[in-house]
Structures are given as structure tokens and as C-alpha cells.
Amino acid sequence: MLTAEDQMAIEQKLAEFLTKSEAQWSALVDKGGNLFAQCGETGSLDLSILSALAAGSFAATHELAKRLGESEFSALYHEGHGQHILMSALHHECLLVTIFGEKTNIGLVRFYSQQVTVILNELLKLASEKEATSGPLLLDGDFLNDKAAIT
């Protein structure tokens, strides 16, 4: 669960990260594939697909890491010809996914991502503690017997 304040705080940190690293787009994705905060430009990319693929890719490499005796690979980097993607593990079952191009380089992006992950971990910890004490979301309506949810 993410309140408006949590989201704003996270997106502000992502914006600062993008400015320093000169990356194009960055987002927080949970390991189930849900995107819950983002900043930057992705053009026409379908973000739900991107999040699902990033989470799946990271989960697969996590298993590889376990087979090698590592607890986790903390980062996963894919290099393209013009576009590259870096995925960094956060606590609370989340990933920081960053897309960058020729304007910057992996060293700079990795350097600033390591800094921002510390801050993001703190923010996620606070959000998680808040969620533990808040009540469930309940809305008016009988959704079980209602008309079709999807048409």
C-alpha cells in the first residue's frame, strides 16, 4: 500500500536520481511485477509489460544466484546498442529499474543508484510500517455478486 505522501517522496528521490545520473527513466517495481512509482520518459513503452518482464528477469537471476551459493545478485544490467537497463535489488521485495541511453554510462548510473537505494529502502520501510498499522481498504458495494468485473 502506498499513500500519496509516500509516492511523492519516492518520486522526488527518483527525480533527483535521474538528474544526477542522467538516466532516462526509473521506477520501483515489486517482485510480483507491480509498478508503484516512476519518474522520467519512456516514450510509448507499455509500463505494465516492462515491470512484469523486469520482475521475471530478476527473479530468474535470483534463482541462479542461489545455485551459485550467493544470497542474491544485487544488480542486473543489460546492455543494448542504444538503450540499457539496470535493475537493482531493494529491501521489501522491490526493485529499482532504470533505463538509460548514450547520454550517460553504467558507472554513473550504478554509482547514484547505490546511493538512492539506501534512501528508498528507508522510505519503503516507513511505508511498510504505516501499512502494518492502517486498516484495510473497504468500499461500498457487493463485488462478489455484482455484474461482470471484466467485459
Partner: protein, 229 residues
């Protein structure tokens, strides 16, 4: 795990299609992608081999305005059914909110179906989950084949418990029963957010008076798309 974003007023729910190899999981998603018109849908992504066998997962995202004041984003995944991809199935089950278990109605597939159902429960445990917590719906697929196992046999095999879950007959290749199955699963997930308390919110239908169902007699095939009574 359901994700609620109060800032963007969005709820993200993950539904996984599970079942034995070639039971119709991918076909369900392909059909849904063609059938769904009003819900905002994304592109269907399939990570598959050259022989069109699911290698990692299929993915389809659907946005609806079902809950008042919120956009509900259903993220539909399928798992690879082949036995060698068990680790991959565990990964896809991460954060699952609801499950649609597809049963292949061929008689010779029964052992595979049963093994897959047991495998589902094992993999949920690996993810610290269980079918008691996660709403699930059964889909008896391929009802159009000539030697389909009778529905009450399938009910006895897969739904024989004190609290039975919803089950639907389907022919995924033609679309019959596909949307009905998904809507049933969706409603079970959405019911958790209703102020109206409902005994079925964990995904279990009304309890039977008897703890077990007696062995079935042969019965003619009923229409696909209809919920099994």
C-alpha cells in the same frame, strides 16, 4: 500480493493461470485478448519456445473501473506447464492474489492434472501461501472433446472438500467459459474490498452438508460457460 496506490487510485491484482502442460492456460489468455473489448487491455506477451510452448510466462494486463474511485488493474499470468519448469512456476506465483486452475478434460490427462494441482499447493507453500488464503477457481477445459471426463468426476477429483470452490466448464479455443471463469476469479478478489461481509471472500463457495461427494455416475456433458452447480 495486492498493491494499492492511493496516489494514482489504482489497485493491482495478480491472477495466475495454473495447470498441466497443454491444458489451455495460454489459450485462455489469447482468447481473452481477442474477446475483451471494454476493459483497457495491454499487449499479450508470451515468453515461449519456437514450438509455442510457454517457457517462462504469458502476461496480459487489463484495466477496469470496477471498484468505486479506483482503477483495478488485473495482471494475468500463465505458468509453463511442463514438469522441468517447476522453479519457474514458483517464481511466477510470487505475489499471486488469485488462481485459475485449468483442468484438461481428456481422460488420459487426469494423472497430469492431479499432479499439477498437488504441485500448485507445494509451490504456494514455497511462497508462504496456501489455497486457504488465496481465492481460486477451477476451469474444466476442452469440454468439446468426444471422450471428455464427466463433470461430476472432475468435481469429485478436484473439488471434493467441505468448502467447494467455483468451477466452470470451458472450451478455451473457442472462448466458451473463458470470460466467465476470469470474472468469477476477479469477483472473488474484489469481494475482499467490500464493506459487505461475505463468507466467500477467501474464494470458497458455500460449504456442503456432507464432507465428501459420492462417486459420480456417468452424465452427459453440460454446456460450457455454465458454472458447475
Amino acid at each position: 500480493m495486492a498493491f494499492i496506490n492511493y496516489s494514482s487510485r489504482e489497485i493491482q491484482l495478480k491472477i495466475v493461470y495454473y495447470g498441466a502442460a497443454l491444458c489451455g492456460k495460454t489459450t485462455n489468455l489469447v482468447t481473452l485478448h481477442k474477446q475483451i473489448t471494454h476493459a483497457q487491455k495491454g499487449e499479450l506477451v508470451s515468453l515461449a519456445t519456437d514450438a509455442d510452448r510457454t517457457l517462462f510466462f504469458d502476461f496480459l494486463s487489463l484495466n477496469t473501473k470496477t471498484l468505486p474511485g479506483f482503477t483495478t488493474r488485473f495482471q494475468l499470468y500463465t505458468v509453463p506447464g511442463q514438469a522441468i519448469y517447476n522453479t519457474t512456476r514458483q517464481l511466477v506465483l510470487k505475489g499471486v492474489d488469485g488462481i485459475i486452475f485449468c483442468v484438461d478434460s481428456h481422460w488420459e490427462k487426469m494423472a497430469d492434472n492431479v499432479e499439477s494441482f498437488a504441485n500448485l499447493q507445494e509451490n504456494l507453500i514455497e511462497n508462504h501461501l496456501s489455497l486457504v488464503q488465496i481465492p481460486y477457481v477451477l476451469q474444466y477445459n476442452k469440454r468439446d472433446i468426444p471422450n471428455a471426463a464427466p463433470v461430476n468426476y472432475l468435481e469429485f477429483t478436484f473439488n471434493n472438500r467441505a468448502n467447494r470452490t467455483l468451477a466452470f466448464e470451458a472450451v478455451a479455443s473457442t472462448g466458451a467459459g473463458v470470460l466467465e471463469t476470469l470474472n468469477a476469479a476477479a469477483r472473488l478478489l474484489l469481494a475482499k474490498y467490500s464493506k459487505t461481509p461475505n463468507a466467500n471472500v477467501t474464494g470458497l463457495a458455500q460449504p456442503n452438508a456432507a464432507a465428501t461427494v459420492p462417486p459420480p455416475a456417468d452424465d452427459p456433458q453440460a454446456q460450457p460457460g455454465k458454472a458447475v452447480a
